[in-house]
Amino acid sequence: MAPFFIYCSTVNNHTMLRHIKKIVRFCFIILLALRFSNYLFDQQSLSTKTIVIDIHDTNYSYTPLHCTFTIIIVVLFLSYYSKITNQLYRNNKAVNYTFLILLAFIVVGYSQLMMLNYATYSIFPTTCVIPGPDDYRESYLITNPVYMAMVQVFLISFLIYNAIKVGVKFKKGA
């Protein structure tokens, strides 16, 4: 706590209040994410080692930390997106850079989701064979991999668009 009090004594009340507000908001997001992931996966306690999701008689395990981290990233991304559309934050370098980093996190996370969908896709056509010649059912964990790839292309294009926009904004002499 000591560094915090030293910090508080060095800044004026207005700045301190602003920072405290930010910290409280961040803690609130984390708490909300924890509660949400807890509710979402119907777990009694977050102390459990894994969250098990049962899909098509197969169990997929995730750590609560993983789910919470994902929710935090998404919530922060939405919060920063609303910020960069606001005139007040348009010229703030830190806000713009953080937004790009959060978007990058989302693209990497989405790739993992695609992998999960694709890996399951490879298993199901062989296990869901319906009797009859050349007659089998294809099943996906989420949706067709092509649709998922289209969403990823959109996400990366959005990232490129925003990075170019930030570059133009902070152009020397602009």
Partner: protein, 161 residues
């Protein structure tokens, strides 16, 4: 107009390099130009996608490398839209590689002799098809950061009308 022709020439070169690489790999692995690559791994043979798909993947890789080198030489002064497109395609390709790696990796790992019932502390060795998925995620993250940097520089060097 001259600039666009120059970019198209470089794209064609990268496609030709992709085809040449496929021919070399095909000769090296199968001793002939086959429509599908047969990759022997220990006692298993993996047959790849049709050649056009493999050539496309190799062309993406060569195109990405060529345009990256060009961008570094030019210090990102020129518009790098082709590099951005190649980078996008390469990120998608990495997702596919990541999926393949996860698909063929044995999650539980191989059990080394003696079997589990034989000993109390069995040694379980992890097995990955290509490499550990962590490396692929890190590589993809680096690619995305490079994409952000390229787009940022492109925006910064853009001429304001």
């Amino acid at each position: 107009m001259k600039r666009y022709i120059k970019e198209i020439v470089w794209i064609v070169i990268s496609i030709f390099l992709g085809i040449a690489s496929y021919i070399i790999i095909s000769y090296y692995l199968n001793g002939k130009i086959a429509p599908q690559l047969e990759i022997p791994v220990k006692e298993t043979v993996f047959i790849t996608y049709p050649d056009i798909e493999i050539v496309t993947y190799i062309s993406i890789l060569t195109g990405f490398l060529i345009f990256s080198i060009r961008a570094f030489i030019n210090k990102f002064i020129n518009n790098n839209y082709v590099l951005l497109i190649y980078n996008l395609l390469f990120i998608l390709l990495m997702t596919k590689i990541y999926s393949l790696n996860e698909m063929y990796s044995v999650e539980e790992g191989w059990t080394i002799y003696p079997p589990l019932s034989g000993v109390q502390d069995a040694k379980v060795e992890g097995y990955s098809f290509i490499t550990s998925s962590n490396y692929i995620i890190v590589l993809q993250a680096i690619l995305i950061l490079f994409l952000i940097y390229t787009a940022y520089k492109t925006g910064k060097n853009k001429k304001l009308s």
